[in-house]
Symmetry: C2
Subunit: 203 residues, 2 copies
């Protein structure tokens, strides 16, 4: 097993430790924001030594950038072969994100990311890539004649992504565990509801 | 002109000053959060003396509670007589809020309000009242036979409110002024799109 280029020499990286650090970084950022984001707090939360954090990332900016990349869903990975399948997966990703433990970090990125040097550019280009990938899902549906070419891609995606986010954020605490246990079921209801709008507009 | 009960004796309150203070309080909270929320910063932002702030509210908690009540839209005020009109007004409120200057405060309340003693209870009861009022709008539409009784009130409201919020938050900076100038036009597009879904489900 060869170490990845970013790893310290002679120390093969443990992906499980990387994952735990990314989640701890999102947790600390979600709770305390950039003002309270410190390598020490992340190391404590991830139960790793501070040295082992610095071996991997030499700055707070690099660590948060890694956590954003590793810990948030990637729309570009969605390609099930059908429009319905792709939209359900996209809605499921959003429900999982906003009902899950990274929800506070995702909301806080909206507020703070653009003002953090070294993170802003990465976050903005990732957001842009997400929008491009989501629009590509709908375009593929139009190409496969699953959707009329006249539909508003913007309205369909705003209501799908916004509807999933709003549902996760407004589900009362006592029903959140049930939603988290089967986000795909709600995603299907949401997609069926919205696709009937698109079909009706066409008819 | 008689002073309102909360005003200092002999000092009639100026509603324009109250409004300016509420907006300044939301601006400071939106930028700096509860950790950076100080009477002095709000007074400076509103261009009023610190004494005149303390004459009105004797604590940071009371000031932020006032700003939330006065500065954020109230769904309970929406009643135009038709379902279409009510939903357009509701969507317009959300677009105005998230494309406007109080957007950061509204997002930050999601993150922080529950942890601020003296503000949490007020914020949660206001959120609850908003949900009840929004559901009442849809119920009135069903009573007037503008909607089938079988529709999912939750899906309709999640996609309407979430879709408006998402649209405002993802509109690129160079197009935000155009959206802010005519939020009602986009609200109508959104409502027409969603109501066609409801009709299609019924057909």
């Amino acid at each position: 097993m060869s170490a990845s280029p970013a790893a310290a020499p002679g120390r093969p990286r443990d992906p499980e430790v990387d994952r735990r650090i990314a989640q701890a970084a999102l947790d600390v950022f979600g709770d305390a924001g950039w003002a309270g984001f410190a390598m020490e707090a992340v190391a404590r939360r991830a139960c790793v030594g501070k040295a082992s954090l610095y071996l991997r990332w030499n700055s707070k900016e690099a660590l948060l950038t890694h956590a954003i990349t590793a810990g948030l869903p990637r729309v570009s990975d969605v390609d099930t072969g059908t429009l319905h399948g792709d939209l359900v997966e996209l809605a499921t990703q959003m429900l999982d994100l906003y009902v899950g433990s990274s929800s506070r970090a995702a909301i806080r990125l909206n507020l703070e990311a653009e003002a953090i040097p070294g993170v802003a550019e990465h976050y903005l280009s990732m957001r842009k890539a997400q929008v491009v990938a989501a629009r590509a899902i709908v375009r593929r549906g139009i190409d496969r004649a699953e959707l009329p070419g006249t539909i508003s891609v913007t309205l369909l995606l705003d209501t799908l992504i916004g509807g999933a986010m709003m549902h996760a954020l407004t589900t009362p605490a006592d029903r959140r565990a049930a939603l988290a246990g089967d986000t795909a079921a709600h995603a299907r209801l949401l997609v069926d509801f919205l696709l009937s709008a698109v079909t009706a507009v066409d008819a």
